[in-house]
Amino acid sequence: MGQNTTAADRSPDLSVHLGPLRLKNPVMVASGTFGYGQEYEDFLDIREIGAIVVKGISLAPRSGNPPPRIVETPAGMINAIGLENVGLEVFLDAKLPHLRDLGIPTIVNIFGNTVEEYAELARRLDGQPGVAALEINISCPNVKQGGMVFGTDPTLACEVVGAVRHRTSLPLITKLTPNVTRIGEVARAAVDAGSDMLSCINTVAALAVDIYSRRPKLANVIGGLSGPAIKPIALRCTYEVLQAVRCPVIGIGGIASATDALEFLLLGARAVQIGTANFTDPAVARRVVEGIERFLEVEGFRSIEEFIGALDLECTFPFAEASCQSLDLDG
């Protein structure tokens, strides 16, 4: 090559290492917002996405919560889907093969009612071709059994992650809830128990009521807030988690543009997941990948790795003595 650099050489490298994973770009789609991929195939070539996190899977199929399950809020939405899913069996037989054939890194989001259920899911997913990693959901705010309770207590989090760790050699991501006093403590517990990576955040516990019917707007009363409204909270959680641990962190929450995604990466997240925005713009993941590439190009970064964690926390005073010398008017 030498002098002879081509345009292709100069287009920035978007690939990232996430612990044991290597992705062609840092943009994933979040669990529960992208189905099993097929729902989006009319809108974009899903192979352009860094990785797909599939809808949360339990051992047995679940029919989910009674409707109404969603409600719109300012710059956000609350959902209480109740982790409706086809169950592990159907997932392995009917959903995974298609994703595997497409060759897209597939991260399986798992949850159970008990530690044993999590462990059993891990055991059965271990070694399944086409599964790139497991994301352990200990953070769903809208189901009574299980879910968030594991994520709000470092000891319980440790138990779940440890049990999963023992049953699989797959890369493990633990998905954290923002609904805690100190997210860093849960983060550390998960890493200590063997989680290779962390993703944050899941939805923020929330509620909506209708003053005319005087009823909760969701049958489940409480649900999880997502969308642009929570982005500032998600950034703060990501920041706190990055201060608490050294493993790769995946930022999630309110991402709807390349700018949003780059904000998480700037803090030091090594990848991001897009959730709610997929609903309103089903090709958003592609737009975000393209925007990141353009940003790096224009701002002169050769790779996304150069930008990750480039946050400048030093405070500088441009008009302080030193800098002022050269500003003298009559010099």
Partner: protein, 289 residues
């Protein structure tokens, strides 16, 4: 039948009844694929307020012109903002979505169409399709039962009139047509004229569709009900648009259909009506503050 995200141009915006507007949108790709009974998701405006798209049925599909029409009622902020848009604006659409009406076998006998209020929206395109169906024998009538609370809420007859269509008008307050509900008019026609439809298409308030649906089930009449649910995506990804499914094997365990992909057109027998909660019935439109 690929789904599309398309930037449509607003061609026409017209007030056609009390708080009810018709929008004509230039959206050739969607128009080329859409079928009666399907719907689109419309982005009310750029930005986050409101965040989610709104679902609307195809009122008319004008394939040659590359246009689709929707008919909508102002019931909240999103539809109010829509009513303020001027022709020439660009509006992002996703569509066509959902299953659409089953038109097969529609030639076999008289069919009933029941519309409550803005429920007329998807039935206009359906009427056009039914009447232009070459397999339909000329003698077999299409009855449209069309009611609202008051005359001002009804579309003008000229917008619906068609040679082989019999329209039965009704209003709760008697200001137009029969004084009473669509259900009562149907009852009367069935009783007095002895017509028995082979199929019932309906769109309108859930209570109306429930009532008609149970009747049709009892009578063995095939139903095609256009049902609603809150939606975040419209294409099967969020699982938000659940409706309780009839499950004869497990009548007491909850199981759900998804309006955006299993519907929005359902047979009455596929719904577990007695598990539908009060909250799923659209709240009253009137808002005092």
């Amino acid at each position: 039948m690929a789904k599309q995200q398309e930037a449509a141009r607003l061609l026409e915006q017209e007030a056609v009844a009390h708080q009810t507007y018709r929008m004509k949108l230039h959206s050739p790709t969607i128009a080329g694929e859409a079928r009666a009974g399907q719907f689109l998701m419309l982005q009310v405006r750029d930005g986050n307020d409101p965040l989610l798209r709104r679902p609307f049925s195809f009122h008319r599909i004008q394939r040659e012109e590359g246009a689709v029409e929707i008919l909508y009622r102002v019931v909240g902020r999103g539809t109010w903002l829509m009513s303020q848009m001027d022709p020439g604006s660009t509006i992002s659409l996703i569509g066509p979505l959902g299953n659409g009406f089953d038109l097969s076998n529609s030639g076999a006998g008289p069919v009933f169409l029941a519309a409550g209020g803005v429920g007329i929206a998807p039935l206009k395109e359906l009427v056009d399709r039914l009447l232009s169906d070459p397999s339909r024998s000329a003698g077999e009538e299409v009855h449209l039962f069309y009611g609202a609370r008051t005359a001002a809420e009804l579309l003008d007859a000229s917008l619906l009139a068609a040679p082989a269509l019999r329209i039965h008008w009704s209003t709760d307050d008697g200001t137009m047509g029969f004084r009473g509900t669509v259900t009562q008019v149907i009852e009367q026609v069935v009783r007095d004229e002895g017509v028995r439809p082979t199929r019932l298409y309906a769109c309108g308030p859930l209570a109306m569709q429930h009532r008609l649906g149970l009747w049709a089930l009892r009578e063995g009449i095939d139903t095609q009900l256009s049902l609603e649910s809150l939606m975040a995506c419209g294409f099967g990804a969020c699982l938000g648009c659940a409706l309780p499914a009839a499950n004869p094997d497990h009548p007491t365990s909850d199981h759900y259909l998804h309006v955006c992909k299993d519907g929005p057109i359902f047979s009455a027998g596929s719904i577990q009506w007695d598990r539908i909660r009060q909250q799923q019935i659209a709240p009253p439109i009137f808002r005092c503050i």
